[in-house]
C-alpha cells in the first residue's frame, strides 16, 4: 500500500502543476496535429466549424438506450472542426481537417497529468543515469502510444472519418498496413496507459523502499 499512498500524496501536494501538465499536453497535441496537417498538405485551413457539443451529447443520451453505445458515440462527438475545403469540383469537398473532440482532450489531459506525475516521481528518485534514461524512455513510449492512438485528423481518402491511422497514413505508412492497424488502436492506447501506470507504481515503490529499509536502524548511531 505504500506506493499507492506515495502516489496519492504526490497528487494531493502537486495537483495544480499536474493539472497544468495535463492541459498543456492536450493543447500541444492539438497544435502538433494542426501543424502536421498544414505542413503535410502545404495549405492553410480555409474553414472552421463550431459544434454544439453539449447539445449533441444530450441528444445522444436521450436517443441511445444502451449506456455502452452512448459512451462510444459521445466519444466521437466533435467540438471544433478546422480544415481545408476543395472547391475545384462540385460544391466543395473537405480535403482534410482537424477535429477537436472533448473526449480525446480528456484522455490527453489524463495522459499529460500521468506523464507529469511520472517525471515528478522520477525527479525525487535517486537512481543511476542509465536507469533514469530508461525510465524516461519508458514514459515517452507510453505517452507516444496513447498520443498516437488519439489522433483526430481526418482525410477524405479515409472516407472522411477522423481515425488515428490517418496519422500513420500521412506519415507515409502504406494504406493497407494503416487500415490493418486501425482496430488495434484501443489496445495500443490501453497498453500505453498500462505502461505509464506500471512505471508510476514502480517509481512510487522505489521511493517507498529506502524508508522501509531504514526501519529499525538507528538514525544517529
Amino acid at each position: 500500500m505504500a506506493p499507492l499512498s506515495i502516489i496519492a500524496g504526490e497528487i494531493r501536494q502537486r495537483w495544480r502543476p499536474l493539472l497544468i501538465w495535463g492541459v498543456l499536453f492536450a493543447a500541444l497535441h492539438q497544435v502538433a496535429m494542426f501543424l502536421a496537417l498544414v505542413l503535410r498538405f502545404r495549405d492553410w485551413p480555409n474553414y472552421v466549424t463550431f459544434y454544439d457539443w453539449p447539445g449533441n451529447v444530450l441528444h445522444i443520451i436521450r436517443s441511445t438506450p444502451s449506456v455502452r453505445d452512448m459512451i462510444g458515440i459521445i466519444r466521437e462527438e466533435w467540438l471544433i472542426e478546422i480544415g481545408r475545403m476543395n472547391y475545384d469540383y462540385g460544391t466543395g469537398i473537405s480535403e482534410w481537417s482537424l477535429n477537436i473532440m472533448p473526449s480525446r482532450l480528456l484522455v490527453l489531459c489524463l495522459l499529460g497529468a500521468m506523464v507529469g506525475l511520472a517525471f515528478s516521481l522520477l525527479r525525487r528518485n535517486a537512481c543511476a543515469a542509465p536507469t533514469r534514461a530508461g525510465l524516461k524512455a519508458t514514459t515517452g513510449l507510453g505517452a507516444f502510444m496513447v498520443a498516437l492512438t488519439n489522433v483526430t485528423m481526418s482525410w477524405v481518402v479515409c472516407c472522411a472519418t477522423p481515425t488515428w491511422v490517418v496519422g500513420l497514413a500521412m506519415l507515409g505508412l502504406g494504406t493497407s498496413t494503416s487500415l490493418a492497424l486501425e482496430r488495434s488502436g484501443p489496445l495500443l492506447s490501453v497498453m500505453g496507459f498500462g505502461l505509464l501506470t506500471a512505471l508510476i507504481l514502480y517509481l512510487a515503490w522505489r521511493k517507498s523502499r529506502p524508508a522501509q529499509q531504514s526501519k529499525g536502524v538507528p538514525a544517529h548511531a
Binding site: H59, D69, G72, I73, G90, C158
Partner: protein
C-alpha cells in the same frame, strides 16, 4: 360572476393556443452526397424539388405535426453513418460499400439498428466505378499497372472494384503501389500527371474525361459486380414514423420519374444544384446512360452486397452483418402500393446496357439547339463536321461502346474505321482486336470527323 366570466373566456381563447403548443415537431434529418450521381434521386432532387414535403402525411396522428426537415451534404458515406449513430441524421443515402459499413456498425451496437429500405439506382455490370489514367499516359490496360502507383479513396465502392479488378487480372497487392487519395486529390493528380492511375466512383471518372485530363482504362462493368446505391434509415425512427419513411420513398420514386421525363431539363437543373457539369450528368441520366433509376431491392443486389461485405471483412475487418435483419422491402412495397405501382414488375426487370443500348442513336449536344440524334455513324460524323465547320459550340457528343453498350463521350472513345463504317470502343485493346478482324484501323475522333469535312 364577472371574474368567472372573464376566466371562462380567457380559458376558451387559450384552448387553440394550447393545442398548437402540443403540436409535435418531427425532425427529419437526411444525409446525402451531392458529388455522387447515383444518390441524386434520394438526395439533391428530392431536396430541391421539395418532394418529401409533398408526400408527408397530414392526417391522423400527423394532423398537427410540424415538420423540421434538414439536409446535410457529405463527400462520402462514412460521416453519414457516424451522424446516424449519433441520431443527428435519421436517413442516409450512400453507395454499396459505405452502406454495408453502415449496417455492420449499427449491428455492432447493443441498442441501435439501421435498416436498408430502398435502392436509388444501379448499373448491373458495375459501371460508375472506373480506373483512369492521365490522358497522355501510354497505359491502356490494367496489365500495364504492374509496378505503378494507383490511388483510390480507400473504403469506397471504387476501392472495392479496384481490388476485384486486380484479383481478376492476377495482380497481387505487392505488384502495384496502392495509395489512398480522395476523389478531388486523385483528379488533380491525374490532371497534373502525378499519379499513374486513379480509381474512383461516379461521376469522377467522367468529370476527368469531360475536362480532357483523364482517360478510362478499366470500367467497373468488367468486374461484373453490380454497382448500386441505397437508402438506410435508423430503425427506431422507422418504427416511430413509418409513414414518413414511406413518404420519403414515394419522393424517391417521383424523383426518378422527374429525371426520366426530361433528362435534359433534369441534368441542367442538377448542374446548378451540384456544380457537376450537365454533360457529365447526361452520361448517367439520359436514355442509355450508366444509371438505371430503380428503388426496388433485387435478389442480385443482396448477393452483390454480401460479396462486398466479404471484401470489407478481409480488407478492413469490419463487423459481421445480418442481412436478413438489415434489409427490408416493407416500406418500398408500401410506397409502391400507395402510388398504384407494380413493385414486383419493377423488381423483376433489370437493365443490361449491352442489350438495352443496342441500336440507340449517337447524340450531339449543340450548345444552342440542344441534343440531336443520329441512327448511323456516318450521319453522326457528318453532322459533327458540319457543325464544327460553322463554328458552332458543341457541349458534348455521345456514342456507345460496341463491347459493353456503355454510353461514352465521342471524344474519348477509340474509333475503328472498317470499310465505310465506324465502330466505337471504350478500350484500346478491344478496338484493335475489332480492327484486326474487320480489316479496319483504329483512328481518333478527329480523324473520323475529318473524313466528312469538305475541303475549302
Amino acid at each position: 360572476m364577472k371574474t368567472f366570466l372573464k376566466t371562462t373566456l380567457t380559458s376558451t381563447a387559450l384552448v387553440p393556443l394550447a393545442f398548437a403548443a402540443w403540436a409535435e415537431e418531427i425532425t427529419i434529418a437526411i444525409g446525402h452526397q451531392s458529388m455522387c450521381t447515383d444518390t441524386y434521386t434520394a438526395g439533391i432532387v428530392v431536396k430541391e424539388l421539395g418532394l418529401l414535403e409533398k408526400y408527408l402525411p397530414t392526417d391522423g396522428e400527423y394532423a398537427d405535426a410540424e415538420w423540421n426537415i434538414t439536409w446535410s451534404d457529405y463527400s462520402s458515406g462514412g460521416p453519414i453513418t457516424n451522424q446516424m449513430l449519433a441520431n443527428k441524421l435519421n436517413i442516409g443515402v450512400m453507395g454499396d460499400y459505405p452502406l454495408i459499413v453502415n449496417g455492420a456498425k449499427f449491428q455492432e451496437t447493443d441498442s441501435l439498428r439501421s435498416i436498408y429500405v430502398a435502392g436509388t439506382g444501379y448499373n448491373l455490370k458495375g459501371s460508375g466505378n472506373a480506373i483512369v489514367v492521365p490522358v497522355e499516359s501510354d497505359i491502356y490496360s490494367i496489365d500495364q499497372l504492374r509496378g505503378k502507383s494507383v490511388s483510390t479513396p480507400v473504403g469506397s465502392a471504387a476501392w472495392g472494384m479496384l481490388l476485384k479488378a486486380m484479383q481478376d487480372n492476377d495482380m497481387p497487392a505487392g505488384e502495384y503501389v496502392l495509395k489512398n487519395q480522395s476523389p478531388a486529390v486523385g483528379a488533380a493528380n491525374i490532371a497534373a500527371g502525378k499519379i499513374d492511375a486513379h480509381s474512383d466512383f461516379c461521376p469522377w471518372s467522367e468529370i476527368m474525361e469531360f475536362r480532357g485530363t483523364g482517360r478510362k482504362i478499366y470500367d467497373g462493368s468488367e468486374a461484373g459486380v453490380p454497382y448500386l446505391h441505397g437508402v438506410v434509415v435508423r430503425e427506431d425512427f422507422a418504427e416511430e414514423y413509418p409513414e414518413v419513411v414511406e413518404a420519403f420513398l414515394k419522393a424517391v420514386i417521383e424523383a426518378g420519374d422527374w429525371i426520366r421525363e426530361d433528362p435534359m431539363r433534369a441534368v441542367t437543373e442538377m448542374e446548378t444544384w451540384t456544380g457537376v457539369e450537365k454533360e457529365v450528368l447526361y452520361l448517367y441520366f439520359s436514355e442509355g446512360g450508366h444509371l438505371t433509376l430503380d428503388p426496388t431491392i433485387k435478389t442480385e443486389w443482396v448477393d452483390a452486397l454480401k460479396f462486398d461485405h466479404g471484401v470489407l471483412v478481409r480488407e478492413k475487418a469490419i463487423p459481421p452483418l445480418d442481412f436478413e435483419a438489415w434489409i427490408t422491402e416493407d416500406y418500398i412495397k408500401a410506397a409502391y402500393a400507395d402510388m398504384g405501382l407494380d413493385y414486383e414488375a419493377d423488381k423483376a426487370a433489370t437493365i443490361d446496357p449491352k442489350e438495352a443500348n443496342a441500336g440507340l442513336p449517337a447524340e450531339i449536344w449543340h450548345a444552342r439547339d440542344g441534343v440531336s440524334t443520329y441512327e448511323t455513324m456516318p450521319e453522326f460524323l457528318a453532322a459533327v463536321a458540319t457543325m464544327r465547320g460553322t463554328g458552332a459550340k458543341l457541349n458534348a457528343t455521345y456514342v456507345y461502346d460496341s463491347e459493353t453498350g456503355l454510353k461514352l463521350f465521342g471524344k474519348t472513345a477509340f474509333w475503328v474505321k472498317a470499310d465505310e463504317d465506324y465502330a466505337t470502343f471504350l478500350r484500346k485493346g478491344e478496338a484493335e482486336d475489332y480492327a484486326a478482324t474487320h480489316a479496319g484501323e483504329v483512328i481518333t475522333f478527329d480523324a473520323a470527323i475529318a473524313d466528312f469535312t469538305s475541303e475549302g
